[in-house]
């Protein structure tokens, strides 16, 4: 019975307009983001730059964070990203004094005037350095030239300040600013960026071809781009499918069938999951083929199943949760409420994940980000959290699907009926 229903549901999905719109959206996402994917080449010695990396050096982290805090304290305006959106925070006098105290303890510099002096000296020195580099006399304007980037203020920590105390002080500053500031744990590490050396670039390259076997890194990048849409579009399919019987006035006809509710919902759910996975697998063939060709010419031992593993492990839990929210809320309310709920969740997850693009900081985000084929080390470090994240969402999706079975069963027995219109009318 399940097999027959499953195939029937797959056929129905394949005939629905919304499914093909979703396929088009996924193709668009893939073509625009990964259409011109270049496979990483071995770094050459003497390159102008090898990119930037986050520094683990505690001194660099402290100096960068303290420099940033000092600048914002002097400007009396602090930048925060509570959900990834820019939020400018202006403090009242009491809070401003607290930040002043934190800076005082962390840097050993007392008073706003001394900090202003330090700030002026830093930028004057920077300006002179840049003008010397461009071969101009100090004070001469650089006509027709793009101004070179100035280095942000860096302030040395006070003598004897331990890293633990520094962390406590920065956490306090972040709390005063309402969270999501440049002094929160994730951000202060992310902001401490230093240029990569040739050796760093070589290490990352070797990790990509040896530990990730080339395809692993690209499968992560593929997953990073695909989850952005997969965190939302399945809900449209789920809501449409759940409302279809009602729209076609077929509910009563299906309710009286002998087929168990669990079989009906499971066949619908799994058919939608499979039908969404099909285009994802199909699209993954493009980068996989590219990687395999490159591996063959370069003599790299690539993993041909890496994309399949990442699709099932990384992307599938996100698809499952979007589908589950869709079927659960639609059965519960008989409305398109799920679109709004999933849309809001997607919105917060997407903009909340902007600080974690480099990978390794997966947290509990619905759409874990890793916007590079490199950073295998970060992936390894964050793997336990990533695995917990994916298991949590898979479990939640299964629970919601099970609850949908219960609601559907109650509706069939005539014990549950709720729609917003009925609520409105019952008040009369």
């Amino acid at each position: 019975m399940f097999g027959q229903l499953f195939i029937k549901e797959c056929r129905q999905t394949a005939r629905s307009l919304i499914y093909w719109l979703i396929v088009l959206v996924l193709i668009f996402d893939f073509v625009t983001q990964l259409g011109e994917m270049d496979i990483a080449r071995e770094p050459k010695k003497g390159q102008e730059n090898y990119g930037m990396k986050m520094s683990d050096d505690k001194d660099v982290i402290m100096e960068t964070a303290l420099g940033g805090l000092t600048e914002e304290y002097l400007r009396e305006s602090y930048t925060t990203y509570p959900i990834g959106f820019y939020k400018s925070v202006t403090l009242d006098k009491k809070e401003d004094a607290k930040i002043g105290k934190i800076i005082n303890e962390a840097t050993g510099i007392k008073g706003r005037d001394n900090l202003e002096k330090l700030w002026e000296e830093w930028y004057t020195a920077q300006e002179e350095k840049m003008q010397l580099q461009s071969g101009q006399e100090p004070g001469e304007a650089a006509e027709g030239m793009e101004p070179a980037m100035m280095q942000n203020l860096v302030v040395k920590p006070a003598e004897g300040l331990t890293y633990e105390r520094f962390e406590e002080l920065m956490d306090q500053a972040d709390d005063i600013l309402g969270g999501g500031s440049n002094y929160a744990e994730d951000y202060r590490k992310k902001n401490a960026r230093v240029p990569k050396t040739y050796e760093d670039a070589m290490t990352e390259y070797h990790e990509l071809i040896e530990k990730d076997r080339l395809t692993g890194g690209y499968a992560r990048l593929f997953s990073d781009y695909m989850v952005i849409f997969l965190g939302l579009v399945p809900v449209f399919l789920a809501v449409t499918r759940s409302l279809r019987d009602k729209r076609a006035s077929m509910n009563e006809l299906i309710y009286v069938r002998r087929c168990p509710s669990a079989v009906i919902i499971a066949s619908r759910y799994l058919s939608m999951l499979v039908m969404i996975l099909i285009p994802v697998f199909a699209l993954s063939m493009v980068p996989l083929t590219q990687c395999m060709k490159h591996a063959l010419t370069e003599g790299i031992s690539a993993d041909p199943f890496a994309f399949a593993k990442y699709i099932l492990g990384w992307q599938m839990p996100t698809i499952m949760i979007a589908l589950s929210v869709g079927i659960f809320l639609t059965e519960l309310t008989d409305t398109a409420l799920a679109v709004l709920v999933q849309g809001a969740w997607w919105f917060v997850s997407l903009f909340g994940g902007t600080a974690t693009l480099t990978g390794g900081m997966y947290g509990w985000n619905l759409m874990p980000r890793h916007n590079t084929e490199l950073n295998w080390e970060g992936y390894q470090e964050g793997f336990a959290r990533l695995a917990s994240n994916r298991i949590l969402y898979t479990s939640l999706a299964v629970i919601l699907a099970a609850l949908t079975v219960i609601i559907y069963g109650q509706k069939r027995k005539g014990r549950y009926q709720l729609s917003w219109k009925n609520i409105g009318r019952s008040k009369k």
Binding site: I18, P82, F85, Y86, S88, F236, V339, K421
Partner: protein
């Protein structure tokens, strides 16, 4: 006139409250998620274009929702009052609500010491709301499916947010935050076309066979 007011009264009583409530909720929670005070012009534009404009999808798209049930639609079509007139009345009512909500929100931003040209940003955001809602209306009309109606503007928004400036040209919805206003005029013109087509377009729907000769 009385007739049209009756249509709007039914709309306000049964169809709009939930959508308005959702919009108020979205706008109400914004200070928890975004900066809404002491913002410079570009950041104010970001809040309006990327967040507040989303309410256009919620309030404009579902103007055909009461006729989602085919039986009701056929009943409405059989009446003397044209269905397009009914849609226009609902649309006008929803637009007034949207304009009022946007006005209150902009007033709140101004009160919170955000620096921006009020009228310009009000009209620019409203044009974007109309465009997103217009996209929803036309897709809803063509597909006869509310979910597709919601999906189209949301996908448009995602593509725009994901660096869609190069694909969207003059219809790029977040231009105010990059300092350009021409796009808003194009968005308004496109919105007028989309909404006009959506409301007046007659799409033949297959009828159920009754077995009668």
């Amino acid at each position: 006139m009385e007739k049209y007011w009756q249509i709007e009264k039914v709309n306000l009583k049964y169809h709009v409250p939930l959508h308005v409530l959702v919009c108020i909720l979205i706008l109400g929670i914004s200070p928890l998620l975004l900066g809404v005070s002491n913002l410079p012009a570009e950041d104010t534009a970001k809040v309006l274009e990327r967040y507040v404009a989303l309410t256009g999808i919620i309030l404009i798209t579902p103007i055909f929702l009461p006729e989602q049930d085919k039986n009701i639609r056929e009943l409405v079509n059989s009446k003397y009052t044209k269905s397009s007139a009914v849609y226009l009345v609902r649309l006008a009512g929803n637009l007034c609500l949207l304009a009022a909500l946007l006005g209150i929100y902009i007033g709140m931003l101004k009160h919170n010491n955000c620096q921006f040209p009020v009228i310009k940003y009000y009209l620019g955001t409203f044009a974007e709301m109309l465009f997103l809602g217009g996209l929803g209306i036309i897709f809803y009309r063509l597909s006869d499916n509310l979910i597709i109606g919601y999906m189209a503007p949301i996908i448009y928004y995602i593509i725009a947010a994901g660096g869609g400036e190069k694909y969207m040209g003059v219809l790029y919805p977040f231009s105010m935050s990059t300092g350009s206003y021409t796009e808003k005029i194009w968005l308004f013109a496109a919105a007028a076309c989309l909404i006009g087509d959506g409301v007046f377009l007659k799409i033949p729907r297959p009828r159920l066979k009754t077995g009668c000769p």
